[in-house]
């Protein structure tokens, strides 16, 4: 396969650095830092107490080691926990946003203006953990939809935040979630009132800018009874030699008959070809479904040096549905341990898991999932399909599905296959005039189709491009 070996190198396309004066907290973590963050955000007392409680729990916890990843554990005292682009003044419209920041977004390919015009996507942009601007806020407000930064929500909608924050991912759920609960600096908040169908995609873009900072955003989405929302999340970070830490928490609450569709295109800086630098992406994402509710996670994971991420669904209500569609691409020295948990508690609950792993270079990709059918979950159904595609013989691909069944009426099916791109498939494409690199892109896209189909249109195109970029120079 000489032809595959010679395929070019591709550099991280989003590795630029925006010079915006930032407002940083001193490096390190202690109760004072947490007080600093809370004060900086003008938070009420209860929020500070909540953070401190999480912090005290975190001190007692140890960093998990069960995932199939190897990395040097970050020194948590070496990280800056607050870094905000200094606002020149309060921002009310896009015209007032720092033009340099706007350029950043353009480079990211998410020119806000364009998004606004073309697709009507409402965007909340978070740079180094602070929400910079939420578009379409007023328009959404007319329908009673709240879409703002979580900091604003803490101040403006304390009763909603208080009621739901930490109910899906408890503040001491795991090491990284506890850390996030203590120090989260911003993130998005979204509330869809009863019976409202959110008319546009809501979107958040996360970006780590400042060096030596960690990003700890917190997202809370509440879909009230009978409502619907589709939520998009995108991530990038500049190229840096050192590893940057990203430990986010996302909580989704789908009340009776509500539906939440949550899509992520994760493209944090993966490190260079020697495995130097890159983002540690340790994320806790979980949703809870009440009666007849549905939560659907779709993720395209192409970035990060280390990924530790299991978007999950607790199917608490009868007839609720959980879905997980994932494409995880690892190249060079990237490591990803990702999957989902489907916890069936209610009757007639259904879940679907489609996971497509693609490993290239010297990377390691693992699917780790749990399907749990509780004793009261009559007639629960699960179907899981976990496929891996290996490119080259220096990478590793692993599958660790846990299936725990405590009810006899359960029907659970799990399938997994491992394959490579066939030389005959490539030759076939070559013969029809398609160059090898194009052919690989074509085949990989075909392989991922079930997942990409779940993404909203604009996102699918971006995801497809990302796949191609991530795999350039990967085959050998």
């Amino acid at each position: 396969m000489d032809i595959l070996e010679k395929v070019t190198n591709s550099d991280y396309k989003y590795g630029f650095y925006t010079n915006i004066e930032s407002d940083k907290a001193p490096v390190g973590l202690n109760e004072d830092i947490i007080r600093f963050i809370s004060a900086k955000k003008e938070e009420p007392e209860w929020m500070l107490e909540w953070r401190l409680d999480a912090f005290r729990n975190w001190l007692k916890m140890t960093e998990p080691e069960w995932a199939h990843v190897k990395y040097t554990k970050p020194n948590y005292q070496d990280i800056c926990y607050y870094s905000a682009p200094k606002p020149k003044k309060t921002i009310d419209s896009l015209d007032e946003v720092d033009p340099e920041l706007l350029k950043t977004f353009e480079k990211l390919g998410i020119s806000i203006d364009e998004q606004k015009r073309l697709s009507g996507v409402a965007v909340d942009i978070v740079v180094d953990s602070v929400s910079v601007k939420t578009t379409f806020r007023e328009k959404l407000a007319e329908m009673g939809i709240i879409f703002c930064s979580i900091s604003d929500a803490v101040r403006e909608y304390p009763e909603l935040v208080k009621k739901y924050l930490g109910t899906v991912v408890p503040k001491s759920d795991n090491f990284f979630a506890a850390l996030n609960s203590a120090v989260f600096t911003d993130g998005s908040f979204c509330y869809i009132p009863k019976g409202v169908r959110c008319p546009m995609e809501l979107s958040t873009y996360f970006r780590i800018n400042e060096s030596g900072t960690g990003q700890f955003e917190r997202t809370l989405v509440i879909a009230d009874e009978g409502s619907y929302v589709s939520y998009l999340e995108g991530c990038t970070a500049p190229m840096r030699d050192e590893n940057q830490l990203h430990a986010a928490v996302v909580e989704l609450v789908a009340l009776d008959n509500a539906e939440i569709k949550y899509s992520t295109v994760q493209n944090w800086y993966p490190g260079d070809k020697e495995g130097k630098g890159g983002v540690f992406n340790f994320v806790t994402k979980r949703g809870i479904c009440e009666r007849n509710a549905k939560i659907s996670w779709t993720q395209v994971e192409t970035g990060s040096a280390v990924t530790w991420k299991y978007p999950s669904c607790i199917l608490k209500g009868d007839n609720s549905i959980g879905e997980f569609y994932s494409v995880a691409v690892t190249n060079n020295y990237q490591q990803a341990d990702t999957g989902t948990k489907m916890i069936h508690l209610g009757r007639n609950t259904k879940s679907t898991i489609i996971s497509k792993g693609i490993c290239a270079g010297k990377s390691e990709g693992s699917y780790r999932g749990l399907v749990k059918i509780g004793p009261r979950a009559q007639n629960a159904r699960n179907f899981s399909q976990c496929d891996s595609l290996l490119m080259g013989d220096a990478c590793g691909s692993h599958t660790f599905p846990y299936i725990e069944i405590k009810n006899k009426t359960a029907k659970v099916e799990h399938e997994a296959t491992t394959s490579k791109i066939g030389e005959d498939q490539l030759f076939y494409c070559n013969q029809r005039g398609i160059p090898t690199e194009e052919a690989i892109a074509l085949i990989v896209n075909g392989y991922c189709k079930d997942v990409l189909n779940q993404l909203p249109m604009e996102f699918a195109v971006e995801a497809q491009k990302l796949l191609e970029v991530s795999l350039e120079g990967s085959v050998g």
Binding site: D393, N407, K411, E415, T418
Partner: protein, 439 residues
């Protein structure tokens, strides 16, 4: 569990003193190393990922007799039901860990079908070469077994020989008065292009608790053919921890059938090393459990060499409060290209209180491989059940028939007619039907 562990550690000193001259052999050095491993590791708890679903506390919180006394009053007719045949098989029979020569039928002609202790005398070269070189010495239970290893079955088939009769290995325990703990140690060495077929069984005869910690090492040289059947149908107080490790050379085929129909806790650790190209490993398992029985099948297939094949198929049917655990790992090493690994685990749950935990895993470090695994948990097909009943077959029998159908693909290639009949009867009794279904 600590109390029994301490007892075992001090028992080792007693055991060592009994050995006299045996203390100076290379094999005894292995025992010493092994007891250190066990001392350090002790019994695994559920915190150990490999024992996540099987809690041994209720078993090892009890006390057991470690040094059992011999029992010579048993006659063949008392235990006839545990055997395949009265005359058409070789037999290596143990009672309370002591060789029962009057129940056995061994041989040294053309090949050796005898006891481990006899081999320690007669075939020290083979023991030193193979015993302890195949098993997982760092494993808690293998280490414990090795420390006390003295007796068990020994099969050695030289190059080109075929053992023409099935070999039955039976471990009987008379646990009428005391709780018993026994540790058989088996070694099967099959030479180039040689073959043999084995049926192994552990059976407790009393009502007290019994635990067997059995270790079997199987070596299959180039072109060897080994078929090994484990029949596990012990009483409600009997537990078995079985660790079987297989090492395979070029173009050899080893097939292990595990039939688990009874026992309190049955843990099967089955591990294959496919070391040379062309080796084929077949792992077939059928578990049919009820009451509070638990079976935990832990399999590992290490594809070390390229061009090897493994087929794994485990079927489980669980009723009442029975529990099934399946943990299957296929590990494809770097450069083990053209590996073909297939793994499937299918389960039927018949009661709300029964449960299944399954974890099929793939760890793959080579790209030109075909690996797949699948598992299902479900119930019998309602339409099929209705169809059978409409043609007059009663519900229970229809169910049993469908369950038979469910297990059949794991019963393929069952070569011994006596075994087939025996399993037929065992399964029928297990499902409490009297129909004669054909496997």
């Amino acid at each position: 569990m600590d109390m029994f562990k301490d007892k075992l550690l001090s028992s080792f000193i007693v055991f060592e003193n009994q050995l006299n001259g045996g203390k100076n052999t290379p094999f005894h050095q292995q025992r010493r190393k092994a007891i250190d491993v066990f001392e350090e590791k002790g019994f695994p708890t559920v915190k150990n990922e490999e024992w996540k679903y099987t809690n041994l506390k209720p078993i090892f919180n009890k006390d057991y007799n470690v040094f059992l006394s011999s029992e010579e009053s048993l006659e063949f007719r008392d235990v006839r039901r545990f055997f395949l045949s009265e005359s058409d098989t070789y037999k290596i029979v143990f009672i309370n860990g002591f060789f029962a020569s009057w129940l056995s039928s061994t041989t040294h002609q053309n090949y050796d079908v005898c006891t481990f202790s006899a081999a320690l005398e007669r075939h020290r070269d083979i023991i030193d070469k193979y015993a302890g070189s195949i098993g997982r010495n760092e494993d808690n239970f293998t280490a414990l077994n090795t420390s006390f290893a003295r007796e068990g079955a020994f099969i050695h088939v030289p190059d080109g020989r075929a053992v023409e009769k099935p070999i039955e290995i039976i471990f009987l325990t008379t646990n009428n008065e005391n709780n018993t703990f026994s540790q058989p140690r088996n070694l099967v060495v099959v030479g180039r292009n040689a073959s043999c077929c084995v049926v192994e069984r552990h059976q407790s005869l009393g009502e007290q608790a019994s635990v067997s910690n059995s270790v079997t090492e199987i070596f299959a040289d180039e072109g060897a053919q080994v078929t090994y059947h484990k029949i596990q149908n012990d009483g409600e107080n009997a537990s078995l921890i079985d660790s079987t490790t297989v090492k395979q050379k070029k173009d050899s085929t080893v097939t292990i059938h595990t039939f688990s129909f009874g026992g309190k806790v049955t843990r099967n650790n089955l591990e294959f090393d496919l070391e040379e190209p062309g080796a084929t490993a077949n792992l077939y398992g059928i578990s049919i459990l009820n009451n509070r029985q638990l079976v935990d099948n832990h399999t590992v297939v290490n594809h070390i060499a390229p061009h090897c094949q493994s087929n794994e198929l485990y079927k489980g049917i669980y009723d009442d409060n029975a529990r099934g655990v399946f943990n299957g790992k296929v590990h494809v090493y770097p450069h083990a290209q053209k590996t073909n690994a297939f793994q499937e685990n299918n389960n039927l749950l018949l009661a709300d209180t029964a449960s299944v935990d399954t974890k099929p895993q793939l760890e793959i470090y080579a790209d030109d491989v075909k690996c797949s695994h699948g598992c299902t948990i479900g119930q019998l097909d309602e339409d099929a059940l209705f169809y059978l009943r409409q043609r007059g077959i009663p519900f229970k029998e229809a169910q049993a028939l469908l369950m038979f159908a469910f297990t059949t693909d794991a019963l393929q290639n069952l070569g011994i007619p006596e075994l087939k009949n025996k399993l037929n009867r065992l399964i029928a009794r297990k499902l409490s039907v009297s129909l004669d279904f054909d496997l």
